[in-house]
């Protein structure tokens, strides 16, 4: 019988127990520095791997791999200026729907696990189900964007960098009103990348 570890209550340790014991035992062969350096670089690789995997979930390819997205909102987005502007510049799903800052991003990713449940239970798996839920989904996104002061819009567009003199008269007047009334992008620009849902009320006006 191998020597028993203290605190095992006299029982023979199983595979897990032996692994745990191995990990807890101080290193006999390697220096602390060696362990730290290996650990440090392993951490970087692990972190890189984790982040890469997370960023894969931000690609357009990943988003439209679900037919719910591909058949509905993706087709609508392709007809808009965020798909292609006059010179071919494009914003993809994550540019608007996933925050750039790490802590906001991770928080959103955790919240998004709810969508996995939706996918499993097919809450918007058909065109009819999607249309029935469209207003609710839109309002949820508008609420999130408004709470963040249209943070994702402002990653590219901002009142500070906006040159209202170069804009069309109608746009420059509306933006001046928006600045004056301390409004946020999503107050007016609902429907900029996907069709506006039916049944919007006065409450949705801002």
């Amino acid at each position: 019988m191998s020597s028993q570890e203290p605190g095992t209550g006299g029982k023979q340790p199983g595979a897990l127990g032996r692994l745990w014991a191995f990990l807890r035992r101080p290193s006999a062969r390697y220096s602390l520095l060696a362990l730290l350096v290996v650990g440090f670089f392993s951490g970087i690789i692990f972190w890189g791997g984790f982040n890469t995997a997370m960023e894969v979930s931000n690609t357009e390819t990943f988003c439209i791999s679900c037919h719910e997205m591909y058949d509905n909102v993706y087709q609508e987005y392709k007809k808009t200026i965020h798909y292609t502007n006059r010179t071919g510049v494009r914003a993809v799903c994550s540019d608007c729907h996933v925050p750039r800052e790490w802590h906001y991003k991770v928080a959103r990713k955790i919240a998004a696990t709810k969508e996995l449940w939706g996918k499993l239970t097919g809450t918007i798996a058909t065109r009819e189900k999607f249309e029935a839920k469209r207003l609710e989904l839109a309002r949820s996104e508008w609420k999130r964007m408004k709470a963040a002061d249209s943070r994702e819009c402002r990653n590219c567009h901002s009142f500070e960098s906006m040159n209202t003199e170069s804009q069309k008269k109608r746009a420059s007047k509306q933006h001046e009103i928006a600045i004056e009334d301390k409004m946020t992008c999503i107050d007016c620009h609902k429907g900029i990348a996907h069709q506006k849902p039916k049944g919007m009320t006065e409450a949705d006006e801002s």
């Binding site: 069309k168 109608r170 007047k173 509306q174 009103i177 007016c188 009320t201 006065e202 949705d204 006006e205």
Partner: protein
Amino acid sequence: MHKQLIIAAAAAFAVAAGGALAAPPDWSKVPAKKITVFYPGVSPMEWIMRGTEHGGARGIKKGETCAGCHDDETADMGKKMVSGQKIEPNPQKGKAGSIPVSVQAANDGTNLYLRFSWKQPAGGGKKMDAENQVKLAFMLEDNKVELANIGGCWSTCHQDARTMPEAKDDKKTKYVKGGTVGSGKYYDLVQWKSTGKTADGYVADKRVMEGGKGLVSAEGKNDGGTWTVTFVRKLAGGGEGDIALAPGKTYNFGFAIHDDHTEGRYHHVSLGYTLGIDKKADITAAKQ
């Protein structure tokens, strides 16, 4: 000799007395304002004021006029609507999106002279009004109707008027909500039709095509595809539903052209502008 003198004097007297026969101005000396009338699709006041459909509702609530934002893009707007791309469920094939019109105005102390000139666009659409190839009407308002200072005659346009998709009564005309002649809440309406017929009426709680005494004459001619319509209208008005025009004041103004045998909502309309009698406005009718 004596007889000739009497005839000459009588003629001179007749001309002087009948202010209506006063000569129109030298139009080559009257500045022209280019106003592009456009096809408005289905855009009644109910749509205009709904923020989720029309972002401009916010601006309107802050006192911004339609022309203030849209003046330089009416051709683009007309193009979008006439093609059915936006707010038009029944696009008419071949219909022009917009028509640039030259508008001139003048007065001589007694009459207002208005002259509209435009090049006829290609047509060939369904003949809704077989009799009249073209009609032109303008409306004047004395700063009492809600939002008339914002949108000109747009305040008469509602979703339940005949030829509109939501209409239930095919006799319901344009109207002003709560409008009556007595309260001053109405538009003076003057119309010329290409058959030569004219009408001088008003739009209060409904449209009435008669009763006005202001219109002296309305003449139109087509010169190789260019229409020119000239109105002579007594400044004082005088009839039921007539607005009395006074020097030094401005009025709300708008006009529409029913081109290519159209009727009802299938016209090209102008945004709201101000007409000033001897006062600088969007369109100034200066004394000649």
